[in-house]
Symmetry: C2
Subunit: 228 residues, 2 copies
DNA sequence: TCGATATTTTTGTTGCATCAAATATCAATT
DNA sequence: AATTGATATTTGATGCAACAAAAATATCGA
């Protein structure tokens, strides 16, 4: 029977094509890319018009982002991208340390040589991006680097939770990056993570990723403090 | 002005009056209470009919639970309450240890004597419930006990994430409880947490809550393994 | 010019009809 | 009896209109 032939060969289901989901993904992209003026008001109808869908999927997407904390209600009918306060940064950072540390530590259990190679390629792309001062690209590949490691944990819900945390710092990270690029602290953290992964040393990977988070924290904190 | 008198006394906004939110809350209750036959199929229209609302709020509620992982898509048009697999239990437990440990440790920063008193009252209620074999009540107060501590962290998004984790173990915890009640291991963990909170010893509170989670894990694992 | 009030516009929510797709049902054939 | 295939039913997604509430704007009085 064909089931036997196909078993383990074909990907299981991978069904996920509804407009609400798509709208959510696009909005998410826009938010993490910092393409939205901070404190700009979002309305169901404006999102619907901008993305060419009706109000229903737009409302779905906004509500979902709202429930994740990536958007907040400022008034009863006013949703905005929240500006990161110092307290919110502290909360997100502590949570990130806990969850990303956990995922990083576990990543060595499933890490294959191909994963290490992929990470090395990504790091090369990050270095090129830094040389070319292409922050957009650096930010994008940096994100891929982190999440490749986190996905190795094999725990998809954990990864989803981490994603929702990145959604909260994403806009601010973007503001920060021209400065961040000056100083290449992140590079050594990433190299340490790769080393740890190659040696299947979970504690080392965890520490490297935690250090990366802490370095980012210091910069974000300085930015928030300075802008008052 | 009355604002000054009320500042810090009254809950901040408490704006939460839309049918979708309400439907979400009710469904959530039903799920954690284990009142739903496991693997029962949920449909938008059946939820709408059961709760006396139209399809829109019902769909909102189901989608939100879906995005939190409290419900899962089994087929393209089939959502069910997921039965906890061993791997899912491992994931939720590791995440709970990380997040609830964090919240517990931080709880001492804001803990007031009144909070300690409230926890002692709750523990008394738990003991009575155990004596009376009123598992429903024990489960409810146990939940309140944990979340009173977690809310003391002062980090609402962290608490929200923890809530979504409880939503995933809730149904199984319910199945478990008659057995759990035999053995009162949980009581000593709670007492240790109260002691730690009184002494403002964050590490002690963290350890006590972690131990409580681990004790529950052992029981849940045994149940899952036995039912195969 | 400024502040309060009235008016207009915009907004989220809700319910519902429609449609394509998925599921369930059942008969027919092997 | 089991499996296939056709048919009927159920389902989620989507768009849209109506409504009440909120926000924006205009108006007016001092």
């Amino acid at each position: 029977m064909s089931e036997h032939l196909l078993a383990g060969v074909v990907t299981p289901i991978a069904r996920q094509s509804n407009l609400g989901e798509l709208t959510y993904a696009r909005l998410k992209e826009i938010i993490v890319a910092g393409s939205f003026p901070p404190n700009e008001k979002l309305t169901v109808r404006s999102v619907a018009a901008a993305l060419g869908v009706s109000t229903t999927p737009a409302r779905d997407a906004i509500n979902r982002l709202l429930s994740e904390g990536a958007l907040v209600n400022e008034g009863p009918k006013t949703v905005v991208i929240p500006s990161l306060t110092l307290d919110a940064l502290d909360e997100v950072t502590a949570t990130r340390l806990a969850l990303e540390g956990l995922a990083a530590e576990r990543s060595v259990l499933a890490a294959a040589p191909a994963d290490v190679t992929a990470l090395e390629l990504m790091q090369a792309a990050i270095n090129s991006g830094l040389d070319a001062a292409d922050y957009r690209e650096v930010l994008k590949v940096n994100r891929e680097f982190h999440f490749l490691i986190y996905r190795l944990s094999g725990w998809p819900r954990l990864v989803a939770m981490i994603e929702s945390l990145w959604l909260r710092v994403g806009p601010s990270l973007n503001e920060l990056y021209p400065d961040f690029a000056q100083n290449r602290r992140g590079v050594s953290n990433h190299m340490a993570a790769i080393d740890g992964l190659r040696a299947k040393d979970g504690a080392k990977v965890r520490f490297a990723m935690e250090q990366d988070i802490r370095d980012g924290y210091v910069r974000l904190k300085a930015m928030i403090t300075s802008r008052g």
